[in-house]
C-alpha cells in the first residue's frame, strides 16, 4: 500500500503579520470563494495529473491518504461550508485512511466555538493555534490581530468543540524579550495542557516589515540559546518531549504530517504555491494567483493544459500534463535523495536509521558519509547508537552547520 500526505494551502489572512514571509495576503470573501472553487477543481484533477489513480488497477498499489494539513495564510478564514467542500472533494478523489490525521491552522483572531464545532464536524481532528505569545505587548509588536486573552479562550473552545489534539505555536527571541519572560509564556501555555507545542525563535526575513523597521534590541545569541535550552527543561517538566528542532509533544502526539516531511514521505501540495514530493519528483504549484486560476481552468476543462498535452507521443500524457501544470519540477537523483534523507532526517531528534539508509540506497551510510560522520561524531555534534545517527544537544543548535556537510560534491 502506498501512503501519501496532502497539503492544502490557503493563502489569505486578515492582515499580514510584520514578520511573515509566507505566501499570503488579505482578501475579500468573493476572492476566497473563487479560490476554493479552483481548489476543488484542482483536487479533482490532481489524481490523474499525478498518476495517483491507482485504486482498483491490478499491479498498482492501493493509494491511501494518511495525513491532511491545511496551512496558510489563515485557513480559519474559510467558512465551515468551504472547508467541508474541500474535505469532501478530497474524500471523493482519494481514499482517506480511517484515523488519518487531519490538521488545520487556526488564527485565534478568526475563530469562535461555533466555527470550531463546524470544523470538527467536517472531519478536522487536529488544530494548530497560532498563539505566538501570551503577552499583549509582544503580540502588538508582532502585528498579530489577536490578544492574549483570545488565545486562551480559543483553546478552551477548541477543547469544548471536541479537539483532543491541539498544537500551540509560540515564538521566542522576540525583540526585547528576556529568557524569564519567555519562560513565563511557556508555563502559561503548558498550564492549558495542549498535546503539542511548537516553540521556535523569530527569524527576521528579508523583505518583511521587520527587516525594515526599528525594533527593540533582539536577544543576543547567548540569550536565544538560553531560551531554547530553557524551553526544553520547562516543557520536559510538563511531560513534553522534543522530537524535532522546534517541536515538542506529549507521548504519541508528534505531528505525523510534519514528520512525513523529514522522512521522505510522499506528499501532494494543492493550492497556490504548494510544494509536492511524488515518487522521486519535487515540484510546485505556481505562486501567482491569476496564473493559478488560469491553469486550473485549462486543466479542468481539458484534463490538461499546455500546447502538447493532447499529443499521445512517447512522452506520455502524464508527464507532459505535469510538466505544463507545475513549476520547478525536479527529478531527484540518487544523490539528491541521499542528501535529503540525511539533512531532513536529522531535524528529528531520533535522527536517521542506518538500516533504512542501506535499504533505500543499497549502500551502508559509512560508504557515502564516512568522513563527515567521523568528523562530526568526534566534534560532539553527532552521535551514533549503532542503529541511528542523530544530532547531539549541541548539534541541534548548530544543525545547519552539520547538515550542509551532507551535501555531496
Amino acid at each position: 500500500m502506498r501512503k501519501i500526505s496532502i497539503y492544502i494551502h490557503i493563502p489569505f489572512c486578515i492582515r499580514k503579520c510584520l514578520y511573515c514571509d509566507f505566501l499570503s495576503a488579505p482578501s475579500t470573501p468573493d476572492c476566497i470563494e473563487q479560490y476554493v472553487r479552483a481548489l476543488e477543481a484542482e483536487i479533482r484533477f490532481s489524481p490523474d495529473l499525478n498518476g495517483l489513480t491507482g485504486a482498483g488497477i491490478p499491479d498498482h498499489p492501493e493509494i491511501q491518504v494518511d495525513t491532511i494539513f491545511l496551512g496558510g495564510g489563515t485557513p480559519s478564514l474559510l467558512t465551515p461550508d468551504q472547508l467541508e467542500r474541500i474535505l469532501t472533494t478530497v474524500r471523493e478523489s482519494y481514499r482517506v485512511q480511517d484515523g488519518a490525521e487531519i490538521s488545520m491552522e487556526v488564527n485565534p483572531g478568526t475563530a469562535d466555538l461555533e466555527r470550531l464545532q463546524a470544523y470538527r464536524g467536517a472531519g478536522i481532528n487536529r488544530i494548530s493555534i497560532g498563539v505566538q505569545s501570551v503577552d499583549d505587548a509582544e503580540l502588538a509588536l508582532l502585528g498579530r490581530i489577536h490578544r492574549a486573552g483570545q488565545a486562551e479562550k480559543i483553546f478552551r473552545e477548541a477543547r469544548q468543540a471536541g479537539f483532543d489534539n491541539i498544537n500551540i505555536d509560540l515564538m521566542s527571541a522576540l525583540p526585547g524579550q528576556t529568557a524569564d519572560r519567555w519562560e513565563q509564556n511557556l508555563r502559561t501555555v503548558c498550564e492549558w495542557g495542549p498535546e503539542h507545542i511548537s516553540a521556535y525563535s523569530l527569524i527576521i526575513e528579508e523583505g518583511t516589515p521587520f527587516a525594515e523597521i526599528n525594533l527593540p534590541p533582539l536577544p543576543s545569541e547567548e540569550e536565544d540559546r538560553l531560551m531554547y535550552h530553557r524551553t526544553q527543561t520547562v516543557l520536559a517538566e510538563y511531560g513534553y518531549q522534543r522530537y524535532e528542532i522546534s517541536n515538542y509533544a506529549r507521548p504519541g502526539r508528534a505531528c505525523r504530517h510534519n514528520c512525513g516531511y523529514w522522512t521522505g514521505h510522499e506528499y501532494l501540495g494543492l493550492g497556490l504555491g504548494a510544494s509536492s514530493l511524488i515518487g522521486d519528483r519535487r515540484f510546485k504549484v505556481t505562486a501567482s494567483m491569476p496564473e493559478y486560476l488560469r491553469r486550473i481552468r485549462l486543466a479542468a476543462s481539458g484534463r490538461c493544459c499546455g500546447p502538447d498535452s493532447n499529443s499521445s507521443d512517447s512522452n506520455g500524457p502524464e508527464l507532459s500534463g505535469l510538466d505544463s501544470y507545475y513549476e520547478d519540477i525536479q527529478q531527484l537523483t540518487l544523490r539528491d535523495r541521499m542528501e535529503e534523507f540525511m539533512f531532513l532526517g536529522l531535524r528529528l531528534t531520533e535522527g536517521v536509521s542506518e538500516a533504512e539508509f542501506r535499504r533505500r540506497f543499497g549502500n551502508p551510510v559509512d560508504a557515502v558519509y564516512g568522513p563527515v560522520l567521523a568528523r562530526h561524531t568526534d566534534g560532539g555534534l553527532l552521535e551514533r547508537t549503532g542503529e541511528r545517527i542523530r544530532l547531539t544537544e549541541k548539534g541541534l543548535d548548530l544543525a545547519n552547520y552539520v547538515m550542509s556537510d551532507f551535501l555531496l560534491d
Partner: protein, 605 residues
C-alpha cells in the same frame, strides 16, 4: 633616396605628469592626422586596456603610426610611442624612450611642473632625446601659461618661450604641436645599407602568431623571410610578417627600414627568446655590437600570490609567464605556504605595479587570487658572515643567527604648495622619514627632499599624501641605499598556530600598532567556529596583541516550513559553498577572502 625616407620620419613620445593630458593630446594628434574616421575613434585610442581606461592611467607602452601632411607640403610618418606616467613604471618609460628621437613634454597650465614631470624629463634627457614643451589646458580660467613657461626654463632648463599653448580637450593648438614635431624632433640617422640593428622595445604574445616583437630599426632593414638573430639570447628565427602600428591594430607591410618603428613576427613560441631590450640583427650578416639596451629594473616590492582554487596553480603560472613577456620587470618564483598552498613569490616595481598585475591576472586570466602582505627586499647579515636578500618574511633566519638587518631607503621628492608643508612633514616624520632639504620653486610651491624607508611608502603613502594636501602634493622617489635598521618579524597566530601568509617584517617602533590592527581586522574576517578562537600577534615568542573570535552557538533554521525543501537546500548549499572557500589553518576555517581583506585593510590608517 633612402636618406629621404628617414628625413620624413619622426619617432617621439609624450611625457607628462599623471592627469596633465598626455592621452588626450595623443588622441587629438591621431584625429588631426586623419588616420581614423570618427567612428573608429574610441575615446582614448592608445589606452586599450580596460584597466587603463578605468584608472585613467597608461600602463603598457604602445605605439601608433600617423601620417601627417605638413605645412611644407611634405608627408611625414610619425611614430608616437606611448609611455606610462607613473613612478612605478620608470623602467617602461625607459624602454619606450629608447625607441624615440625626441619627446613632447606636456605641462598643465594650471598646475605647472610636478614631481613626475621632472622624473620623466630627466629620463628623456639622459637618453639624449630632444625635448620640447607644450602648455596644456590653457582654456581653463586658472591657466597661467606665462608663469609655467618661466618655471620650465628655471627648473628644467629647456627653452619654453615658443612652446605651443594648447587645449588638448578643446582641440586648440594641435596643429602647432604637429608642426613642432616636424621642426624640433630630429629625423633618424641610421644606415639603411648597414647590417640590421634593431632594438626590441616591447613585445606581445599572440596565440596564433607567437611573439609579436615591437622594434625600432636603427640600421639596415627587415622583411618577410629575413633570418633574424636575437643578440642576447642567440635565438634565430625567420620573419613571417612585418608591419607598423595602426590605431589599436597591426598593419602588415613589405619591409621596415632604418629609422622606422614597427613589429615583426617569426613564429617565436618561447617568450624568453625575444627579451625586451635585446638587439635584433641578421643571422647571416650580423652587426658588430648590440645597442646599449637599458638598465633592467629591479623589483622593489614583493608579495606571495596564490590561486584561491589550488587546482588553478598551473593557470597562474601560465598567466605570469605571459605577463612577464610584456613586462620584463615582473619577477616570480614558486613558493609554498602552509596556509595557502602552492603559489609564487612575485616582485614588482612598486605597489601600483603590483595592483595592476593583480587586476590583470584576475580580469584577463580569470584567476581568483590571494595575495600576501607586500614587502620590500631586506638584507639580512648572518653571524656566519653570509648575507641573504629576504623577500619572504617566512624565510627570516632565527634571531640568534642574525647579526644585523638592512632595509631599502629611497630619496623622495615631494612637490607641495607651501600651506601643506607642515602636514606633509609630519607625515614623513611618522613614516620614519629623514628630512634633507626644502627647495622653493616659487613663492607658493616647494620641493621637500626626504629619505624614507621604502617599506613605509609601499602601502598607502601616496593616499596619505593626497589626503593631507587636498590632492595637491605630488611625489616621486628612487632607491637610494640600504641602511641598518631594527626590524622584527611579526607573526599572526590563529588558534595558537602561526599563519605564514600573514607574517610581515616591521620596524620595532611600529610593531605594537600594526599587530593590534591586524588582530582587530582578522577578528572581523574569521567566521565564528565551534570553539573560541584566539588571534594573536607575536614578535619572537612574545605575544603583543590578542583578540578572540567567540564560538558559534547557534546555526539552525528554527522554523522549516515543511514542503518547501528546495529553499532549505539552497540555504545549505550556500553554506557549503562558503565552507569550500575556507582554508583550514590548524583546525580553524578561514575564508580565503579574509587574507585578502586583512591585507588590503592593512593599508588603512
Amino acid at each position: 633616396m633612402a636618406e629621404n625616407i628617414q628625413d620624413r620620419i619622426r619617432n617621439f613620445c609624450i611625457v607628462a605628469h599623471i592627469d596633465h593630458g598626455k592621452s588626450t593630446l595623443a588622441d587629438r594628434m591621431i584625429e588631426k592626422t586623419g588616420l581614423l574616421t570618427n567612428r573608429e575613434m574610441q575615446d582614448q585610442v592608445l589606452d586599450n586596456m580596460d584597466l587603463e581606461r578605468e584608472r585613467g592611467i597608461t600602463i603598457k607602452s604602445q605605439a601608433v603610426r600617423l601620417i601627417y601632411n605638413a605645412r611644407d607640403g611634405k608627408e611625414y610618418i610619425f611614430n608616437l610611442i606611448d609611455t606610462p606616467g607613473h613612478v612605478d613604471f620608470n623602467y617602461e618609460v625607459n624602454r619606450s624612450l629608447a625607441a624615440c628621437d625626441g619627446a613632447i613634454l606636456v605641462v598643465d597650465a594650471t598646475q605647472g611642473i610636478q614631481a613626475q614631470t621632472l622624473a620623466n624629463v630627466y629620463l628623456a634627457l639622459e637618453q639624449d632625446l630632444e625635448v620640447f614643451p607644450v602648455i596644456n589646458k590653457i582654456d581653463l580660467p586658472s591657466a597661467m601659461p606665462e608663469e609655467v613657461k618661466t618655471e620650465i626654463e628655471d627648473v628644467i632648463g629647456i627653452e619654453a618661450e615658443d612652446a605651443p599653448l594648447i587645449s588638448a580637450k578643446q582641440g586648440i593648438g594641435i596643429e602647432e604641436v604637429l608642426e613642432a614635431v616636424v621642426e624640433k624632433i630630429p629625423a633618424p640617422d641610421g644606415d639603411p645599407e648597414g647590417p640590421l640593428k634593431a632594438l626590441i622595445f616591447d613585445s606581445l604574445y599572440d596565440s596564433y602568431k607567437g611573439v609579436i616583437v615591437f622594434c625600432r630599426i636603427r640600421d639596415g632593414q627587415i622583411r618577410k623571410g629575413t633570418k633574424v638573430r636575437m643578440m642576447a639570447t642567440g635565438a634565430v628565427a625567420e620573419v613571417v610578417e612585418v608591419g607598423y602600428f595602426g590605431a589599436g591594430q597591426f598593419i602588415p607591410c613589405d619591409e621596415l627600414s632604418a629609422g622606422m618603428v614597427g613589429y615583426f613576427t617569426a613564429s617565436i613560441k618561447n617568450i624568453r627568446d625575444a627579451r625586451v631590450g635585446d638587439t635584433v640583427t641578421e643571422d647571416q650578416r650580423p652587426c658588430d655590437e648590440p645597442l646599449p639596451g637599458y638598465k633592467k629594473a629591479q623589483p622593489m616590492v614583493y608579495c606571495g600570490l596564490y590561486p584561491a582554487d589550488a587546482a588553478r596553480y598551473p593557470d597562474l603560472r601560465d598567466a605570469l609567464e605571459k605577463l612577464q613577456l610584456n613586462d620584463a620587470s615582473l619577477f616570480f618564483e614558486p613558493e609554498t605556504s602552509l596556509a595557502l598552498g602552492f603559489g609564487f613569490r612575485c616582485g614588482f616595481l612598486g605597489l601600483l605595479h603590483m595592483e595592476v598585475i593583480l587586476e590583470r591576472l584576475e580580469r584577463e586570466y580569470d584567476l581568483d587570487l590571494i595575495s600576501t602582505a607586500p614587502g620590500v627586499v631586506y638584507k639580512v647579515y648572518k653571524t656566519d658572515g653570509t648575507m641573504i636578500e629576504l623577500t619572504n618574511p617566512s624565510n627570516l633566519p632565527d634571531v640568534t643567527q642574525i647579526e644585523r638587518m638592512e632595509e631599502p631607503i629611497v630619496s623622495a621628492e615631494i612637490m607641495v604648495t607651501t600651506e601643506f608643508i607642515g602636514s606633509i612633514m609630519q607625515l614623513c616624520q611618522e613614516r620614519r622619514g629623514r628630512y634633507i632639504s626644502t627647495e622653493y620653486i616659487e613663492q607658493t610651491r616647494a620641493v621637500l627632499h626626504y629619505e624614507l624607508p621604502l617599506n613605509e611608502i609601499i602601502y598607502d603613502f601616496f593616499d596619505a599624501l593626497k589626503s593631507r594636501s587636498r590632492g595637491y602634493a605630488s611625489f616621486d622617489y628612487e632607491l637610494k641605499d640600504y641602511e641598518e635598521s631594527t626590524l622584527v618579524r611579526m607573526d599572526i597566530l590563529v588558534n595558537k598556530e602561526p599563519v605564514d601568509a600573514l607574517s610581515f617584517i616591521v620596524h620595532t617602533s611600529n610593531a605594537y600598532d600594526r599587530g593590534r590592527r591586524m588582530c582587530e581586522r582578522l577578528k572581523d574576517e574569521i567566521p565564528r567556529q565551534l570553539f573560541d578562537v584566539p588571534i594573536q600577534a607575536a614578535v619572537g615568542g612574545r605575544i603583543i596583541a590578542r583578540e578572540t573570535v567567540r564560538q558559534l552557538r547557534k546555526d539552525v533554521l528554527a522554523k522549516c516550513y515543511g514542503g518547501d525543501i528546495s529553499r532549505k537546500k539552497k540555504l545549505l548549499e550556500k553554506q557549503k559553498e562558503g565552507k569550500k572557500r575556507m582554508q583550514i589553518v590548524g583546525n580553524v576555517e578561514i575564508p580565503k577572502e579574509a587574507f585578502m581583506n586583512v591585507l588590503k585593510l592593512d593599508s588603512g590608517n
